[in-house]
Symmetry: C2
């Protein structure tokens, strides 16, 4: 996340590393450098966050010199790191995944369950307006954001170090957002993350049972019964999944089978539906904190089938020891009720 | 969680049910009745929580009539549902797992990925004092709490519907605690939860590789290097795991191999160490919100090896879209640093 403190005054943080849990085999990202982030959520590990002042926001147009040089941007009239952009992608100033081995000797740790955290951490500033997320500007702005997501996935396909691109938005402090200016984040991961791996296994198992694509089947059932449908368009459906983990969880899916998000060519239609849904969510749930992420196909050779979707999770309850300690989610709002309220 | 509203004035909530995610196969607990809890965390789904007044706390001695009849208690001089107890176990007034099929026809939903949420939801009131968790009273109170944990695990072994007993504590609102009076919670689950299943697979894989018990090996390595050790006693070790998911995560483990927590006979020693560690955590991290849970052996036939441990996770940061959407944890404090600060 970009910060407001000029780089020269900060000590170089240690390079992030991956550590493998010896029991489960899952990788954790150790990014101790992030504890000096000026706006770390939680606020107890880092110094207290100062009031984030509009006239200091590093993501606003006119303050491009406060961020690392941009990776790419949509900007009429050309130029780099200057105002005039509508969407702008930057390297994260506090990266949890890095492009090379920035410290001498860091290759040495590629053993004993440790390795350098190689990958990409990017910030997509998806609106020039500090107080308006893209959907409050309008569908054309959302379309530009979605196009940028696709462009970055395509660009990272050429990086040998990246196996999966995870694109997210944390909206509101209760959903771990650390900067007020609307932005998305991209993580180019050097492995397929556990939640995607688990879904790929599920798709493969259904396919082996000759049930075809499990998400295509779910979509058919949702459309047939109707009670889980939130909204729809010709090519896309928004619904609350039958086994929602959290109240008002919603998925945005293409009705026709499509493995990777970057293959989607109907961005005008998707942007319209996405915009409508986001405005509805804000209105019906009183501008809740939420996360969304794109679940999509891995970048590398993958034999298991998949069907991309966007998952939106309002953060209205706090997970406790049953969720975090056992992996069992307790949902206190029935998805049928949630869908009815969001319709 | 027990509430302050007398039972008669509340509408009967719908029976909780289990729903299976069609893609991952994991079970979610749908407990819509909990949305009327007087003190639901998050505070947006339910009505605003009233100030919890000491003179209304339903878990304090003298107000036993406000809770469902107790399951068991440690009480000098005998009696039931009356003062004089030091530890008291109750059915949860807002259960997410229930002992029978409370509504006509609920067996019918045992199909299409739905089934009644059969199991147990219990509240262990582990101190009579409203403002003092057991470790602030002293090690003998902690020992009584640990003994109660063991007693409940043993009792639930005789229930055919329960496959795993998950015992947790949510401490502080930031860790999803909804009542101030110190208490633990027990969930008798009708399946082995995903996080335990995944650990069991890890233990089995290590054992098949002739590496023996993976946790015994981890303990040996931690003791040899020393930098992850927080505190220790003759039979137990407290350490920050190498691949900690969150800042200051700590595990309390028996040094000698032991599958199930209820087999532990050294409760005096464990209570002493647990008490010291909890007081240390409070002092060094300024009374942080935290969760702890016991990871232990399943109740039913299980061929995979295991080694019980208690995991303690301070809640200093907010998980976002990378943690919740990909299952990848980002830790901003190195466990070596965390252990040094907690020593």
């Amino acid at each position: 996340m970009p910060g407001t403190v000029p780089e020269k005054t900060q000590a170089q943080p240690p390079a992030p590393e991956l550590r493998r849990d010896p029991i489960t085999g899952e990788w954790v990202i150790l990014a101790a450098g992030r504890s000096v982030r000026p706006h770390a959520p939680g606020g107890r590990v880092s110094a207290p966050a100062p009031e984030e002042l509009l006239d200091q926001c590093p993501l606003c147009p006119g303050r491009e010199e406060l961020t690392p040089p941009e990776i790419c941007a949509v900007r009429e009239g050309g130029g780099r790191d200057c105002p005039g952009w509508s969407v702008r992608t930057l390297p994260n100033k506090f990266p949890i995944l890095v492009s090379g081995a920035p410290h001498a000797g860091s290759e040495k740790i590629a053993s004993n369950g440790r390795r350098p955290a190689l990958g990409s951490s990017e910030v997509i500033v998806d609106t020039p307006l500090h107080n308006k997320p893209p959907w409050e500007i309008g569908a054309p702005q959302v379309k530009e954001m979605l196009e940028m997501y696709q462009e970055r996935i395509r660009a990272l396909k050429n990086q040998s170090r990246t196996s999966y691109v995870h694109i997210i938005r944390n909206h509101g402090r209760g959903a771990a957002s650390s900067l007020e200016h609307p932005h998305s984040q991209l993580f180019g991961l050097p492995f397929v993350p556990p939640d995607i791996d688990s879904e790929l296994d599920g798709f493969a198992a259904a396919s082996a049972d000759k049930a075809g694509c499990i998400l295509c089947r779910m979509i058919g059932e949702v459309e047939e019964k109707g009670e889980l449908v939130v909204m729809e368009s010709e090519s896309f459906l928004v619904f609350c999944p039958f086994a929602s983990r959290l109240p008002y969880e919603a998925w945005i899916v293409p009705r026709s089978h499509q493995p990777g998000f970057e293959e989607c060519t109907k961005l005008d239609e998707l942007a319209d539906l996405f915009t409508s849904f986001m405005l509805r969510l804000k209105k019906r749930l009183d501008d809740p904190p939420f996360n969304y992420w794109i679940h999509t196909y891995p970048l590398k050779d993958e034999s298991r089938p998949y069907h991309w979707h966007i998952e939106v999770l309002p953060r209205l309850t706090t997970p406790g020891g049953l969720e975090l300690g056992a992996g069992v989610w307790v949902n206190i709002v029935a998805p049928e009720q949630a869908a009815a309220e969001l319709r």
